[in-house]
């Protein structure tokens, strides 16, 4: 899922302070799971903001709504009838949701309420880790299901590098060496011969470096 983190409330206040009628828009997908921008977070933030502005003598109306997704036209259409009632939308969706909402409603400022961090997994409640960088050409089949692109700081394709010590990355003792993990897993699966194979040069053309990417599937387009 896309992992996001809450923005500090001071930053949110600074962003919305010039508006009087604000729609706080949550998203029921990834940001709900990582507890940054779901219905509950919308309720809490809206309540806090209402109290803050009231306490500071400013009349601000903050209304709440949480859409099923903010990255799909059909759900974003649900606010078409009401969007003109607001001076701004504070979206607690990921960067995709914020942009898609902004695309759709050209004249309404759409402001981000969370920091979008990475594609990751829930290790345990309150801890999320990065697992994918969406490089566009998955090599997990040959690396024991562990991604050196997202989990190795150097994105080394034939690792580990010289900085790997006792299974940890030279970044620090909290970071596992991705290649150590790959070796451990290949060993456990009895597939160490995979490790001996040199990885060919990775085609980075599918990565972000090639500019914004598009996936087009003619077979399912209507």
């Amino acid at each position: 899922m896309i992992v996001a983190d809450k923005k500090p409330i001071d930053e949110v206040i600074e962003t919305i302070k010039d508006y009087e009628k604000i729609l706080l828009l949550g998203c029921n997908e990834c940001v709900t799971v990582c507890e940054a921008g779901g219905k509950k977070e919308v309720e809490v933030l809206a309540s806090a903001l209402r109290m803050y502005f009231l306490n500071n003598g400013k009349k601000v109306s903050i209304e709440e709504k949480t859409l099923e997704r903010q990255c799909d036209h059909e759900y974003l259409e649900e606010i078409r009838d009401v969007i003109d009632q607001y001076d701004a939308v504070l979206s607690l969706a990921c960067g995709v949701g914020v942009q898609f909402t902004a695309d759709k409603y050209l004249s309404t400022p759409v402001l981000p309420g969370v920091n979008t961090c990475f594609l990751g997994a829930t290790e345990k409640r309150g801890v999320w880790t990065e697992r994918c960088q969406a490089c566009g050409k998955c090599i997990l089949a040959s690396t024991g299901g562990i991604c050196p692109v997202s989990r190795c700081a150097k994105r080394v394709m034939n690792g580990p590098c010289g900085g790997s010590t006792n299974g940890k990355c030279e970044l620090g003792p909290d970071t596992d060496c991705a290649w150590q993990l790959i070796i451990n897993r290949l060993e456990a699966m009895g597939k160490m011969d995979e490790y001996e194979k040199l990885s060919p040069l990775k085609d980075w053309a599918t990565d972000r470096a090639g500019g914004p990417r598009t996936v087009e599937r003619e077979d399912i387009q209507s």
Partner: protein, 118 residues
Amino acid sequence: MRLEYPTNIKIVRVPCTGKVDVIHLLRSFEKGADGAYVVGCLEGSCQYNNGNFRARKRVEQAGEVLESIGIEKERVRMYNLSSGEGTLFAEYAREMDKIIRELGENPVKKAKRKMDAA
């Protein structure tokens, strides 16, 4: 026991303190409460194992939210007691009442009154 505790305390009954969420506490302040405290079972005695621990965390979270918007976090508090400790219930109520009286009125309530009058 005929115990007395401050009459300004309004009791909201929940099936377990694990039901109490951050938003419930915040809404009480939005609606003008000067303070809010959660009284749960003793730690380790929760019938649902960890309801009171969850409540404690949420009380802490609510305190942090309040502090971030300039309201004293001491206005929210968590207490634990067993259902047989009526004396303690009254004592906690008096303690909370004292804390809130020292802190004074909920600033949001005061601000709202000022805004309504203007």
